[in-house]
């Protein structure tokens, strides 16, 4: 019985995906960025008709090459029947990786939207993986990632590149999410459709005309997001956690995830290393080499009571090197400018450096790096490092100050 039931369920699902495909294929398109110089596609993604028969929704990261360099690139669609045409960008939501495009002619029937079904419900993701052809991927809704900042839907299905911007539909064929990312092995992410609805709402107020200054609007979105994040972090109740002889704020927001990074005695010999790394694991995609919105910080405690002070400090000094990795290039950001001073935090002296580099195109945003090393103990060390991307410098300093004020020395 069970087996029979299971079989029939699979048959039903297959049936539904094939019937859905027939229903929506007129509303699903490939979105391609064309280099005007060669006429060839540079990046591809997927899109779907929404709201009006000439509006297409996709991901911001699909069209970002165009927004960053509209003179070099243009946007085209490719229909399931092979017809092509040009698209114009109306507006974007970089925070949720969404973009809405308008075609010069009718594209097809706009898809309906619906609320997210219950966890475990089957979803059907549509798109054009690797440009191989329009496909449907059946997977499971695993709910909103409420703790993460982008609040995406966890979709257990195999999304592939090229499917970005395609719709994820419920059984009824209504859009509940937009394909956006994958972590491999059927761990994929969808943008919740409510953010698309908000973007469409904004476009309605613009009378379906392109946003007057898209770049400024993107910068404004990033600033608002960064301010909201920094303010939220400061108003959250903070829990303190022990790292060596210090008590420090660890998980200062639900969006922040902390991992233990301690090293074993085997690796570290006479030194005891206790380390905690926290990050919001967020990357707001701006272009191939630039993403912002990331916050990571690290506390590392070193204890070497079995070593003489110069020997301990030789090791400690070597550890005092940041490993911030960022793909930002000189086209995007200035060089880091740093200021090093000594500051007393929780009765201990720290050699503390604050570095900032400013974004060239996204005015008002900076990357901020704060690194500190305790220098008031001869056989104990404590390194603190914080790296924020795409924030307002002054606002970030308020958070850093609050962090320092919450440090406590246990002895």
């Amino acid at each position: 019985m069970l087996l029979l039931f299971g079989q029939s369920a699979v048959v039903q699902a297959v049936d539904r995906s094939s019937s859905l495909y027939a229903e929506v294929q007129q509303s699903i398109y490939q979105v391609r960025i064309i280099n005007r110089k060669t006429g060839h596609k540079r990046t591809i993604g997927s899109g779907f008709v929404i709201e009006r028969s000439n509006l297409l929704a996709t991901n911001y990261h699909v069209v970002s090459a165009y927004t960053n360099d509209p003179t070099t690139y243009s946007i085209e669609y490719l229909a399931t029947n092979g017809s092509v045409g040009t698209l114009e960008l109306l507006d974007v939501d970089v925070l949720h990786d969404l973009a809405v495009l308008v075609a010069d002619k009718e594209l097809g029937r706009p898809l309906q939207t619906a609320e997210l079904p219950a966890k475990g419900a089957t979803l059907y993701a549509f798109g054009n993986p690797l440009g191989l052809g329009f496909s449907v991927v059946t997977g499971t809704n695993n709910g909103l990632l409420t703790e993460s900042e982008d609040k995406n839907i966890l979709f257990s299905g195999n999304l592939n590149s090229g499917m970005s911007g395609g719709p994820a539909l419920n059984e009824a064929g209504a859009v509940v999410g937009v394909n956006v990312a994958t972590a491999g092995n059927a761990v994929s992410f969808l943008v919740a459709v409510e953010y698309l609805q908000r973007l469409l709402e904004k476009i309605r107020t613009q009378q379906f005309q392109p946003a007057s200054n898209l770049h400024e609007s993107i910068v404004a979105q990033l600033k608002v997001n960064s301010s909201e994040m920094l303010n939220r972090l400061q108003t959250n109740p903070w829990m303190l956690e022990s790292v060596g002889s210090f008590q420090v704020p660890s998980r200062i927001d639900t969006s922040i995830n902390c991992w233990d990074g301690s090293e074993t005695d085997e690796e570290r010999g006479l030194v005891t290393v206790i380390s905690v790394n926290c990050s919001n694991e967020r990357e707001i995609y701006l272009d191939e080499k630039l993403s912002v919105g990331n916050m990571q910080y690290q506390y590392t405690w070193y204890a070497g009571e079995k070593m003489i002070a110069p020997r301990f400090y030789r090791m400690y000094e070597l550890q005092n090197s940041d490993d911030t990795s960022s793909n930002a290039t000189k086209e995007n950001v200035t060089d880091f400018k740093c200021e090093t001073n000594f500051v007393q935090i929780a009765k201990q002296n720290f050699k503390m450096s604050v570095c900032r580099r400013d974004y060239l195109r996204y005015k008002g945003l900076s990357d901020v790096l704060v690194t500190g090393a305790m220098v008031s103990q001869k056989q104990q060390g404590f390194l603190f490092e914080l790296f924020l991307t795409g924030v307002d410098f002054k606002e970030s300093m308020r958070l850093v100050k609050q962090l320092f004020e919450n440090f406590q020395w246990k002895n």
Binding site: R268, Y313, C338, M397
Partner: protein, 311 residues
């Protein structure tokens, strides 16, 4: 005529010149064995030069059809001139001079070794410096390890440096021996020890100063100075003190011997400058830490600190 016995031919050979008293004229010089003075230099002809003495003075006659003779820098066929010494004569590629025995010679070269330079003159000092250098490397190996190790582990890690130091000393002593025909091992060991110890000490000093000034220029400056000046200065001191060279010849030799290294350092420096002007994406600030916490900058309160950074 009365000064004939006072005439002397100096053949310049390192490390000691050869001298021939010219008493009977004419004097024929060449490579053939029936000459009055036989010079077995391959650039010298079988019969190369004849010097005769007449009423008017000395007469020089070039006999060589191959490489010829130059008298006071000019090509010679026959010349007769008063003896005004010294007369320089170049036979083929061999330099010689005609001198009067009454000519004054330079004063004996006496060098006072003072301070650190004693390592070039006193074997005991050189040996002590070598031991000190080895100890510094031993201490460095100890500082750099974070594991509990037996002494033998640190000793073994120092062996390559010790080997390098001895090899360098032997190389210097060997070259020195070729030039001076004397074995001078201890100054060579002193030079080798100096070469290895100085960068180590300057590095340590630089780190202390970096921390003191909260900046990277002290160490960078010291390394730059040591890269460009250390080897030429050491070679200069060595040539002066061990080989008793005159000041300017010593400068010449020091520059000549350090030239490849100086060019290498210059190349390295230009590369560094190029890299510094490129975008790296790395934050550049002083990362030195010191257990003694000696520094110029004061410790600020959190409030003061943020007022400072807002600037």
């Amino acid at each position: 005529m009365e000064k004939l016995d006072a005439c002397l031919l100096e053949i310049q050979l390192r490390p000691l010149n050869q001298y021939y008293h010219l008493t009977q004229f004419p004097v024929r010089i060449g490579r053939a064995l029936d000459n009055d003075i036989i010079l077995s230099d391959p650039s010298i002809s079988a019969y190369h030069l004849e010097i005769d003495k007449t009423e008017q003075g000395l007469v020089f006659r070039n006999l060589s059809k191959e490489n010829g003779t130059r008298l006071n820098g000019k090509a010679l066929q026959v010349a007769s001139l008063e003896l005004k010494q010294p007369i320089s004569l170049k036979l083929g590629n061999r330099r010689t001079r005609l001198l009067a025995t009454s000519m004054q010679v330079a004063q004996a070269s006496v060098h006072q070794c003072r301070g650190l330079l004693k390592v070039f003159c006193r074997p005991w000092y050189a040996f002590t410096l070598a031991v000190l250098t080895t100890s510094v490397f031993l201490y460095e190996a100890y500082l750099q390890s974070i594991f509990n190790k037996e002494l033998v582990y640190y000793l073994s890690s120092v062996m390559p440096y010790l080997m390098g130091m001895i090899a360098l000393a032997l190389l210097i002593a060997g070259m020195s021996r070729l030039a001076s025909q004397r074995w001078e091992f201890s100054p060579a060991l002193g030079l080798a020890a100096f070469c290895m110890l100085t960068p180590q000490l300057l590095g340590e000093l630089g780190r202390v100063l970096n921390y003191f000034f909260t900046a990277n220029w002290p160490l960078n400056g010291l390394l730059l100075l040591s890269n460009f000046l250390l080897i030429p200065l050491l070679v200069y001191a060595y040539i002066r003190l061990v080989h008793h060279a005159e000041r300017w010849p010593a400068v010449g030799v020091a520059l000549l011997f350090s030239a490849p290294l100086l060019v290498y350092q210059a190349m390295d420096l230009t590369d560094q400058w190029t890299i510094e002007h490129e975008f790296t994406g790395q934050a550049d600030f002083n990362r030195n830490l010191s257990a003694w916490d000696l520094r110029l900058k004061p410790t600020l309160s959190i409030d003061e600190y943020f007022i400072e950074t807002e600037k």
